[in-house]
């Protein structure tokens, strides 16, 4: 998996900041941002996760002409072929910032798989963890953010009791 072009745009940063409830003007007001230490609008710390928007193969986005696993007429739009009951959840996320992305950057992301491991979960049966490492580089090839994510597939939905 790779993302060839992730243009960092001011309006996207604005929408992302609104979604996490962050009213810091550095994400919304270019004139104000010029008076701050970074000197421009910058992206909030978790913004690179929105690179999913620019991943052509991203699995968790409905695509025209393809069946979607969310509900329509029926509770799901696809036949459940897997016996895995719980599905995938996000277990960990780690970021290292070499600098903070800003509007005008055009990032690329290269993704490589990391380790996988298993654990017996108290609330969800067998857990299968898998790690991915994503390097975000800018238009000059400089490393901007290194991200390490850990996903987990659970044997059954996580028990809430």
């Amino acid at each position: 998996m790779a993302i060839e072009k992730f243009p960092v745009e001011a309006s996207h940063i604005l929408m992302f900041a609104r979604a996490i409830g962050d009213t810091n003007r550095i994400y919304a007001d270019d004139e104000y941002a010029q008076s701050t230490e970074p000197g421009s609008v910058i992206a909030p710390p978790t913004f690179v996760q929105a690179s999913a928007q620019f991943d052509p193969d991203y699995r968790l986005r409905p695509k025209a002409g393809e069946a979607w696993f969310g509900s329509g007429k029926e509770p799901t739009g696809v036949q459940q072929t897997s016996s895995v009951g719980g599905g995938g959840l996000h277990a960990e996320q780690h970021y290292e910032y070499h600098r903070h992305p800003k509007p005008g950057d055009v990032l690329t992301a290269t993704v490589k798989p990391g380790e996988t491991w298993e654990k017996q979960g108290r609330r969800s049966g067998k857990l299968i963890f898998s790690e991915t490492i994503t390097e975000y580089r800018d238009q000059h090839g400089e490393l901007v953010v290194t991200a390490r994510g850990v996903g987990v597939r659970t044997e059954r939905p996580v028990d809430q009791t």
Partner: protein
């Protein structure tokens, strides 16, 4: 406003309420902004009837994003060098979250001062939903 190493002590804390009564609409807003449209976050029919959860729940990354807001408010804009978390519990509509940073270490490396922080975000019952760490550049 940036923090100063000379004024930070191990054990200092900064805490913020980052969401009160989380709405399904905010979760939808996060799906739209992040591009993660997994229906377990926005589609109650799918989530209760197919995925087997009592209701939709927040993206882990929404909890991390809200926790990050507390962090940048504390350490200042553009100062974070590291931020990592584990998602320890799911976050549900109606939850109210409080995010807290505790100073673990204040140190100098290559002439630059840093603060290392332990991060914990809890829900209205005091149950931890996000546990992690961060490092930020600070002034001398």
């Amino acid at each position: 406003m940036a923090l100063s190493a000379s004024q930070l002590k191990v054990g200092d804390t900064h805490e913020e309420k980052v969401v009160e009564n989380l709405t399904r609409t905010q979760i939808v807003q996060y799906a739209g902004a992040s591009g993660d449209y997994n229906p377990i976050h926005t589609d109650e029919v799918y989530t209760t009837q197919v995925a087997g959860y009592p209701s939709v729940f927040a993206h882990g990354m929404l909890s991390m994003g809200m926790t990050g807001m507390m962090l940048t408010n504390y350490v200042g804009d553009g100062r974070l060098t590291k931020f990592g978390v584990r998602f320890t519990r799911q976050v549900w509509p109606g939850d109210s979250l409080t995010a807290k940073a505790t100073v673990d270490a204040v140190r100098e490396e290559g002439g630059q001062h840093y603060v290392d922080l332990a991060i914990s975000t809890v829900n209205q019952d005091g149950t931890e939903v996000v546990s992690g760490y961060a490092t930020a550049r600070v002034d001398p």
